[in-house]
């Protein structure tokens, strides 16, 4: 029905309106988040009726999902770029942490929303095989690859499992990002508001994370 790239005039027009909706939504979402993004106000902004939007997106969630995926693709690209560089492992690792956290802090609503899906109440549910193709899943794969290289190079402890280690790193980065986003003055809150720029703290955090994996010296 909707081919990409669009070749017929109809498809081109449709694609254009779709993009219009997405870009208007993007700007609102970036500053006000998902809660602040109202279908009605969005429609008004682009001079369409609210119901028109539903001809392009099945629901608000679906619209927001595209924004989140596009955002995480940007993270994926930057991480991928760093990991693929021909520099020592520990530099790349530190670069990943700084970049990841930096992007998250730069677009806090995007980052927080990207993880704020529904909360699974009970124990572990069955595995989601589609996760690996998610932007998040791909970003994880890249991270894992880097860790594996660190192990193979002899920089990291050989008994480490790359997948587990990467998950731990990811969690640590996620935590710092979320702290920066949700605790306004992190890491400089009272009582001992440490004199350290947020970027320097990120470097400090990265250092601890990397140290945890390194060979005992």
């Amino acid at each position: 029905m909707t081919a990409f790239p669009p070749n017929s005039p109809a498809e081109r027009r449709r694609h254009k309106v779709r993009s219009l909706i997405l870009s208007a939504a993007e700007s609102v979402f970036a500053s006000d988040g998902a809660e602040g993004l109202s279908i009605r106000r969005l429609a008004e902004k682009i001079d369409y009726s609210p119901s028109a939007i539903y001809k392009y997106f099945g629901s608000k969630d679906e619209l927001v999902f595209e924004l989140k995926e596009a955002f995480f693709e940007k993270i994926l690209e930057k991480i991928d770029y760093i990991v693929d560089q021909n520099t020592p492992y520990h530099l790349r690792a530190r670069g990943c942490v700084a970049t990841y956290v930096g992007i998250a802090v730069d677009k806090p609503h995007h980052y927080a929303a990207a993880f704020a899906g529904q909360i699974s109440d009970p124990g572990p549910t069955e595995d989601d095989p589609g996760f690996v193709e998610t932007k998040k899943g791909l970003a994880f794969s890249v991270l894992k690859k880097m860790v594996q290289e660190g192990i193979d190079d002899g920089h990291l402890r050989p008994e480490l499992n790359a997948s587990l280690a990467a998950k731990s790193i990811w969690a640590s980065c996620h935590g710092l990002a979320m702290m920066r986003i949700h605790v306004p003055t992190f890491p400089a809150f009272s009582p001992d508001k440490v004199v350290m720029a947020p970027e320097d703290f990120t470097a400090f955090h990265a250092d601890l994370v990397v140290r945890g994996l390194e060979l005992d010296s």
Copy 2:
């Protein structure tokens, strides 16, 4: 106006209704989160009118805030108990991580909501001096105390700043907790769903975090 503990019959009655609201809200909140907690349905559940609730709480946010604070007080208590034990530093540190993450996973809606305040868009805002008296702030102080002891005992690198180190640990724990909450199958997602119980992964994560602070051996 409302004394505590209540001594007059009127105060006792008021306190009772207040508790009724809170406990009904607590059960809904625990299973459905803040979004799923509707003042109207809550009122219906306890056989009051929606407006009645506003005689006890200024807003839904205020009501939810009490639930979150009570929850984080529980975290604080447990962490405090562990830190004050007379066991080696590394045991207490690992215990803190496991306990913290365990509570968060056990009450995911509470934990996520406790951090899901408004997102501060721009750079660092001015410090919030009241943070230190928050339950979160108190929990941090306890953690910091433990790290300081680890440094003084000679278990951790002496050049470390206890406050910074504690913040890094906190962030790492927060990250794991949030991952467990928001990525349903973490840490066992595709493609290499590692055969490791979530609790064991928490222990692994704790190990890496602790290692990052330890003396080079």
